[in-house]
Amino acid sequence: MAEVMKRKHIGLKSTKPFKVRINAWLQKYGIPYLFISPFIILFTIFVIAPVFVAISMSLTNYNMIQPPRWVGITNFRILFTNDNIFLIALRNTFIFALITGPIGYFMSFLAAWVINELKFRNGFALAFYAPSITSGIAMSVVWLYFFSGDRYGLLNNILINLGLINEPVLWNIDPEKILPVIIVISVWMSMGTGFLVFLAGLQNVPRELYEAAAIDGVKNRFQQLYYITSHIMKPQLLFGAINSIVGSFGVFDIAVSVSGIPSPNYAGHTIVAHLYDHAFIRFEMGYASAVAVVLFLITFIFGRIAMKMFS
């Protein structure tokens, strides 16, 4: 009880000496700050500081041996005017993200919406969600059985049997086919991204709301979805959108598994692949940081747009 009194007391303007006040403050907040400090320290070192370091490094030339040399916005100018490979990467990443992001997002919402009404909900949920928790590398290996460039590839085998093609298609070597193959595999894996959040959100929509709305003339399920569910679920929809933006613009491991680095004609080259190439193969840290900053801005801008849409 005395403890509680003391707590209440120090909330008031105190006239006590400084040392006593510090002690009281420590007693009140010392342990909670101790609780939070491991996370905050690691978060500052490995997330917050790196963002600022990356931004400042992007304005320099730095190869990790000589000290960084200030070059202003030169790196960005080269990226957008002289580096054709980066422009290919940018184009591939945008095509990829604008296809897989929305498809994955809407498919997972649709599936959550339907599965929420079905029997065997947990079974359906598992079967639908399983691909998105598997390793991208492992699943690329599995999908390459289907897309294998010889007659052993299941897809080629089927197409040849149907008489649609005469020669096996080199799915992961032909530059025109690489990006579509990466997209198919990623769509398959990304359908579960927001799924669990959506499913949980749907379960939280109070049933009474639907009943009340039915009286107001909301007739079918699609109207319910449009007028009620989508409003109640805004926080979940936003969370899912942000995950899907960050995920789809960060495409890398599946692209590497399907087509390698560098891929034929850079057909599977992405922003992250470009970052990896310049940072960890050529050790041009300044230039690679400029790539990282571009990626940062892209996901950040799309994230802000999503926040505006769902607020």
Binding site: F43, V47, I133, A138, V197, I242, L275, Y276, K308
Partner: protein, 295 residues
């Protein structure tokens, strides 16, 4: 009144069950689920195929005479190469378990403190964490690499663990759930003289169990599947983890001759995440209800 309503809704459900639109809904879902799960079924089936079935033409979808031969090949024949495959399994298991345990503890401690103590500055911290949800982790990899390399951690297990402990997503998940914790309960324990440390472990952690079980699943999945961190923080073959090892044996010369081993390795790389999810599924669903962001 209540029973009347129940009967009514039961009747509604019954009618729905037989209607044409529900038939098509189930049909659609079964097709969709077939699309999502068939590659996984194929993966499992291939891992148990004997050699003659692996190279049969035309290729067969399902295994006929299941055998463990591919696993034996993977775990023993690979011994002759420089790094035995069991080493990669060990690397993955060890770093994943340590990372998951540590991130769960520091995220729970931090999120609990932020949620329940009204600390000065806590609003700012939470805003920053929400902003950080929008960073792609690749943005921070170059400076992280420089830190790890300055600290001399390249090719050490700690390089695969420490940079991955403070994740905004993890903190956010626990914080949203911790907000539901009743203050009265904590206050009551305090009145009885319990130390804050004890309150955290004995009262908060049991109530937060669905949240941290979920975090165990998500953190396990993302660390087990992580490709980029071991790719840049290690360059010795003996320090690589499963995804990189799998990529090495699945590509390059002789990959066809290794088909069986590759299938077995794919199986080993995939199954743990699915098993963990199945075990924890109920807890995960309970937690995700609180995971939305209020903009």
């Amino acid at each position: 009144m209540g029973t009347h309503k129940n009967n009514e809704s039961k009747k509604l459900k019954k009618r729905k069950w037989f209607s044409v639109s529900w038939f098509f809904t189930y049909l659609f879902m079964i097709l969709l689920v077939a699309f999502t799960s068939l590659p996984l079924v194929y993966m499992v089936s291939t891992a148990f195929k004997p050699i003659d079935e692996l190279f049969i033409y035309p290729p067969q979808f399902l295994v006929r005479k299941p055998t463990l031969q591919s696993f034996r090949d993977l775990l023993t024949a690979m011994d002759s190469s420089v790094v035995p495959f069991t080493r990669y399994i060990y690397n993955s298991v060890f770093t994943t378990i340590i990372t998951v345990l540590s991130t769960v503890i520091i995220s729970c401690m931090g999120a609990f403190a932020l949620s329940k103590y009204k600390l000065p500055g806590s609003k700012v911290v939470f805003q920053i964490i929400i902003l950080a949800l929008m960073f792609s982790s690749y943005t921070t990899q170059i400076p992280s690499y420089m830190i790890v390399s300055k600290l001399g951690l390249i090719n050490k297990y700690s390089a695969l663990i420490i940079p991955k402990l403070a994740v905004a997503y993890n903190f956010f998940l626990i914080k949203q759930f911790a907000d539901q914790l009743p203050n009265e309960l904590l206050e009551a324990a305090r009145v009885e003289g319990a130390h804050e440390w004890k309150i955290f472990w004995k009262i908060a952690m049991p109530i937060l169990k669905p949240a941290w079980s979920t975090l165990v699943v998500f953190s396990f999945v993302s660390n087990w599947n992580d490709y980029f961190t071991p790719l840049i923080f290690t360059n010795k073959q003996a320090m690589k983890t499963l995804p990189l090892a799998l990529q090495t044996i699945a590509g390059g010369p002789g990959a066809v001759a290794r088909s069986g081993a590759v299938a077995a390795a794919t199986f080993i790389a995939t199954v743990p995440t699915i098993v963990i999810f199945v075990i924890m599924q109920a807890k995960v669903m309970e937690t995700m209800a609180y995971s939305g962001i209020k903009a």
